[in-house]
């Protein structure tokens, strides 16, 4: 065990201080240290996007970020999107348009979509498809996912994470 490092992370609005091993990946910090298992590990090789979370408002693949790199930052996971009982407009749109089948890719897909919409508030369908290129779905194909993101883009005053 190499020297542990003290980090401070704000996760879904709550501040935490932890001593972590430098090699601890952000996704393992979230799932194991914080118990937030909504973020999935899929390929574990920066490809599939299942582990996507927001770091300081931008989508990142948490299997390829060290927890120590995120020190001082704000992380939003799928658990932090809803406000009480009110789902985030992107979550609501995925439900409404059934943008999922097995659901494994869904948390990462939703977080990637939230980040994408913050950068592209009025996207074309083509831009949505390219904007989600970092997330793989192996069940449904992408038809309803794209439909959901297009619908969420049209939701008035959608909160951006």
């Amino acid at each position: 065990m190499m020297t542990a490092v003290r980090i401070t992370l704000t996760v879904n609005g709550t501040r935490h201080d932890d001593d972590v091993e430098p090699r601890l990946l952000l996704v393992h910090y979230l799932r194991e240290t914080r118990g937030l298992t909504g973020t999935n590990v899929g390929c574990d090789t920066t490809s599939c996007g299942a582990c996507t979370v927001l770091l300081d408002g931008e989508s990142v693949k948490s299997c390829t970020v060290l927890a120590v790199q995120a020190d001082g930052g704000e992380v939003t996971t799928i658990e932090g999107l809803a406000s009480g009982d009110a789902m985030h407009p992107v979550q609501e749109a995925f439900r409404e348009h059934h943008g999922l089948q097995c659901g494994y890719c869904t948390p990462g897909m939703v977080m990637a979509a939230v980040s994408f919409l913050a950068e592209h508030p009025d996207p074309s369908e083509d831009e949505v498809r390219h904007g989600l290129e970092g997330n793989l779905c192996r069940c449904t194909g992408y038809h309803n996912i794209v439909k959901a993101v297009m619908a969420a883009a049209k939701t008035p005053a959608a909160p951006r994470a």
Partner: protein, 275 residues
């Protein structure tokens, strides 16, 4: 997958990073965005015992007008290169190609300096810097030095950077009115190029190849043919000369030697139409 254990130090300045490099030598690696290094460490293909995190050196994240060139700080993320108005106006080949690296999540973390210093022949940006005839600025214990892009890539993941040096800036010459093109051929949107071609043309041409050997390669035979007045199609027929493309599950070496000729022709035609 979990990397081997390492000690973590965070550099608050370039000088501090250089001091750490001097102290730890070959055992240490610089960590910028980590999107080349961490995947290698997770696969245990790299196992540095010390990581020196330079990811917080915000003063190395910039795009500046240098008169006859544009200077890009080594820690500028792909996303910031992609959306830079100055680069879009003055070095559109770089801004465009930065938007094709990996996927949005990768572009939120990966940096231009990390990509160039990693020197992966399959990466997009090293070939762009080569085609543009860029200059790499490195700092080490002896001060700062400039390295021409053509002298920078030495071998597979090997560059002209000494173990105690750090890449700080990438300079791209302005080429007003130049036509340009980047051809990236892959099967899945986020993949590395099976073969890629960066081209820029006004008067002389710069053409560089992705994933056609152990380093990013300048297509000198193509450039010479163009200089002698060959058409894009005739010049492109020389694209595989002097290359040693890899054989892997994405394509045989023969397939790549064919593909590179097709892509160089497309790149030259597109650059010609844009010029």
């Amino acid at each position: 997958m979990i990397p081997s254990a390492f000690d973590y130090v965070r550099a608050a300045s370039v000088d501090e990073a250089l001091a750490q490099l001097a102290e730890h030598g070959d055992e240490a690696k610089l960590l910028a965005g980590g999107h080349s290094l961490l995947p290698l460490m997770k696969l245990r293909l790299a196992a540095p015992t010390v990581l020196i995190d330079i990811g917080r050196l915000r003063d190395l994240s910039y795009v500046r007008d240098g008169g006859n060139h544009v200077a890009v700080g080594a820690l500028t993320r792909h996303r910031d290169v992609e959306i830079s108005d100055l680069l879009r106006a003055e070095v559109p080949l770089l801004a465009h190609t930065a938007g094709l690296v990996g996927d949005p999540q990768v572009r939120h973390r990966g940096t231009i300096g990390g990509s160039v210093a990693h020197g992966d022949p399959a990466s997009d940006l090293p070939a762009v810097v080569l085609a543009l005839g860029g200059t790499l600025v490195a700092r080490g214990p002896g001060g700062e030095r400039e390295i021409a892009a053509g002298e920078f890539f030495h071998g597979f993941l090997e560059t002209a950077l000494a173990p105690d040096e750090m890449l700080t800036e990438i300079r791209l010459p302005k080429r007003p009115g130049a036509g340009w093109s980047y051809q990236k051929f892959n099967r899945r949107a986020q993949d590395w190029a099976i073969v890629g071609v960066a081209a820029v043309r006004n008067g002389g041409a710069g053409v560089a190849l992705v994933n056609m050997g152990s380093t990013p390669l300048r297509a000198t035979a193509v450039e010479q043919a163009l200089a002698s007045g060959a058409s894009p199609a005739d010049a492109a027929a020389h694209a595989a000369e002097g290359t040693e493309p890899p054989d892997d599950l994405n394509g045989s070496a023969d397939y790549r030697r064919h593909l590179v000729q097709v892509l160089v022709r497309r790149a030259l035609e597109e650059a010609g139409a844009r010029g």
